[in-house]
């Protein structure tokens, strides 16, 4: 079942096109993330679904019902705000009960109390009904905001960068918890973030947005492994981009010649036709480094010199010069051994199936 459908949604603020012809569907119980840098239109898209901003053109459906012109309070949707937007003059109970008061008018006093209690137990904060928002820590406010958004049992919960105001440690905890809560309540989540790690970890599908458009909408793995554009590849993970030309393309694979004359093999990628210039993308962690020439040299095996080694604790980053003019970056997990130093001659190897071809920019 489709819970949310956005059809050709467009939003213009003055001369700025914030959301540009965006269409997507979200299935029941799905966790969809809108991922992109600030100003890419992800929050505006969320607010269009919520009804807080009005569509310039296009349509929004919730459970097959056209709500394009419905006010927020008439949409079966809840939104968790970036700054939580808890009512400072109401205590935790009244904050959470607010939605029940207006969305479920028939509810008795006892039922209302029970629902608030259940919601607080869900976010693991029982017994703080009497406290006021300013008496709570940032993490507690966040949980109360989540409880307030969930207590009305909406068809869809929209979350606008809910973790951006938390410190790293707390953010990591909350991510795990949010995923557990979503699995527990089985409500459709649409989540907005600029944090790729968050998106990959939480989502069933990720929509990568740039300048008001959805560039790629797919599973986290597909978005990571087969980015459709350089923007997507750059935004998620760390990649090398080598400029050059496709010199051969046939069913067995393609051959790519970099500007400095290196010949690299690419398997099963025909997005750039033979003879055209393009960009070869390879993930940093897929580039292997050997201090001696490996025995098996299928695929791409090249010699190079380490220009710079950066020690990061959990991993080490090497910048390696290949041939005359190509620089490749690789991330290797650290071991007990002493890392390779700058100036060392090394061998670099990567699999043709880890290479992606993109049109040159």
């Amino acid at each position: 079942m489709i819970d949310v459908e956005v059809r050709n949604a467009t939003k213009q603020f003055g001369k700025v096109l914030a959301v540009d012809d965006v269409s997507f569907r979200v299935h029941k119980g799905e966790f969809l993330t809108l991922l992109g840098p600030s100003g890419c239109g992800k929050t505006t898209t969320l607010r269009l679904i919520a009804g807080l901003d009005s569509l310039t053109s296009g349509e929004v459906f919730i459970r097959q019902e056209d709500v394009s012109f419905a006010p927020p309070y008439a949409r079966d949707v809840s939104l968790m705000f970036q700054n939580y937007a808890l009512f400072p003059h109401k205590n935790v109970f009244d904050n959470i009960a607010f939605g029940l008061k207006y969305r479920e008018r028939g509810l008795g006093k006892d039922e209302r109390m029970q629902r608030v209690q259940e919601a607080l137990e869900l976010v693991r904060l029982p017994g703080i009904e009497k406290r006021y928002p300013r008496q709570l820590s940032g993490g507690q406010q966040q949980r109360v905001a989540l409880a307030r958004a969930l207590v009305i049992k909406p068809t869809v919960l929209l979350l606008d960068e809910p973790f951006s105001n938390l410190d790293l440690k707390l953010r990591e905890e909350m991510r795990v918890e949010l995923k557990q809560i979503q699995e527990q309540v089985k409500i459709t989540f649409i989540f907005v973030t600029h944090d790729q790690e968050e998106a990959l970890m939480l989502s069933d599908r990720v929509a990568v947005m740039e300048e008001g458009k959805i560039i790629q909408l797919d599973t986290p793995r597909a978005v990571y492994e087969q980015p459709l554009s350089r923007f997507v590849a750059e935004f998620i993970g760390q990649s090398n981009f080598l400029h050059g030309k496709v010199i051969r393309s046939d069913p067995s694979g393609a051959e790519f010649e970099t500007e400095s004359g290196l010949i690299l093999l690419v398997s099963n990628d025909h997005r750039v036709p033979s003879g055209s210039s393009g960009v070869l993308q390879i993930r940093a962690e897929r580039v292997h480094v050997y201090s001696e020439k490996p025995l098996i040299t299928t695929g791409n095996t090249l010699s190079g010199v380490i220009e710079r080694a950066i020690y990061l604790g959990i991993s080490i980053q090497y910048f390696i010069r290949l041939g005359s003019d190509d620089l490749i970056m690789t991330i290797r997990p650290t071991t007990g051994e002493v890392p390779l130093a700058g100036g060392t001659d090394v061998w670099v190897a990567f699999d043709p199936s880890d290479c992606q071809l993109m049109r040159g920019i």
Partner: protein
């Protein structure tokens, strides 16, 4: 380094080591001024109110309660005090009703409120007295207001507008409006702009969101505005003197009259103390019921 540059530097480092002195140093100019020109005169007024008025001379410095007795035994003064408070309350409430929508509009505008606020303050470039005289021109029998009402056929003969309690309240509201708009505007601007959307997401309509969120959170601004306009209305002298008729005198007019015409300084002082004390008591009662921690809950 020469000595002249060294001295303030030494003083600053001396000050930095004494945080308590910093406060005293910063508050001293205002404190001294207020003590000399508000505190001392107030003490004098208090003393005079307990002294005896002797016709022909100013006072005899002998303790008496007869000035206060006179206030309590002659009902006319109580009535004038009540009238002062009523005028203050009318001014405050009518100003609030007029000012709140304006303040709301100014606060909700995305940009460009500075120019409009400037326009609100423009009348202050002329003296209060002149502004009151122009209200005479508007309200008098052949004035602008009657002229317009007559020519529109709404009334058949001129209304008596000037020299009425109504004219006094109009004058007071006129001068109080900016002081009502600005504190409410400031408080409305400070409300988290996501709170109303949050209320709407939770099912409240626009008007319900206003009642649940905007209105209660603007109470501090409303109270500030009400208190300022109430005090300026209840204690006003010029507006009743110029726009009010015979029966429109407020406490301040009576006090001025005692001092300048009857030369009865002790009784004038006693009336002044009565007005001051009753106003303070009223405000204390109000602030007890509209304390800020009732709005935001107790502190941490």
């Amino acid at each position: 380094m020469n000595a002249a540059a060294k001295l303030p530097r030494n003083f600053m480092s001396w000050l930095r080591r004494r945080p308590a002195m910093q406060g005293i140093f910063l508050a001293a100019p205002t404190g001294i001024w207020l003590f000399l020109f508000l505190g001392l005169p107030l003490i004098l007024v208090l003393l005079y109110s307990f002294w005896i008025h002797v016709p022909g001379e100013l006072v005899e410095r002998r303790f008496t309660l007869e000035n206060y007795e006179r206030f309590l035994t002659r009902p006319i003064y109580g009535r004038i005090l009540l009238r002062s408070f009523r005028v203050g309350l009318e001014t405050a409430i009518l100003s609030l009703i007029l000012a709140y929508p304006t303040a709301y509009y100014l606060a909700k505008r995305r940009s460009g409120s500075t120019m409009l606020i400037f326009l609100i303050l423009v009348p202050f470039w002329t003296s209060y007295l002149i502004r009151l005289f122009s209200w005479m021109l508007i309200l008098m029998e052949q004035g602008v207001a009657n002229g317009i009402l007559l020519s529109l056929g709404i009334i058949s003969e001129p209304l008596r507008l000037l020299f009425t309690p109504f004219a006094v309240v109009i004058g007071l509201i006129y001068s109080a409006l900016p002081f009502t708009i600005l504190p409410i505007y400031a408080v409305l601007r400070g409300i988290d702009p996501e709170l109303v959307p949050a209320a709407k997401m939770l099912g409240a309509t626009d008007f319900q969101s206003f009642l649940e969120v905007t209105l209660p959170l603007s109470v501090p601004g409303i109270m500030t505005a009400l208190i300022i306009t109430f005090i300026s209305g209840a204690g006003s002298f010029l507006a009743p003197a110029i726009l009010g008729g015979k029966g429109a005198d407020l406490m301040s007019n009576v006090i001025v009259n005692r001092f300048l015409e009857a030369f009865d300084w002790p009784f004038g002082s006693a009336l002044g103390i009565v007005l001051l004390v009753t106003t303070i008591v009223l405000l204390m009662i109000v602030s007890k019921y509209v304390a800020l921690d009732k709005i935001y809950g107790p502190g941490k």
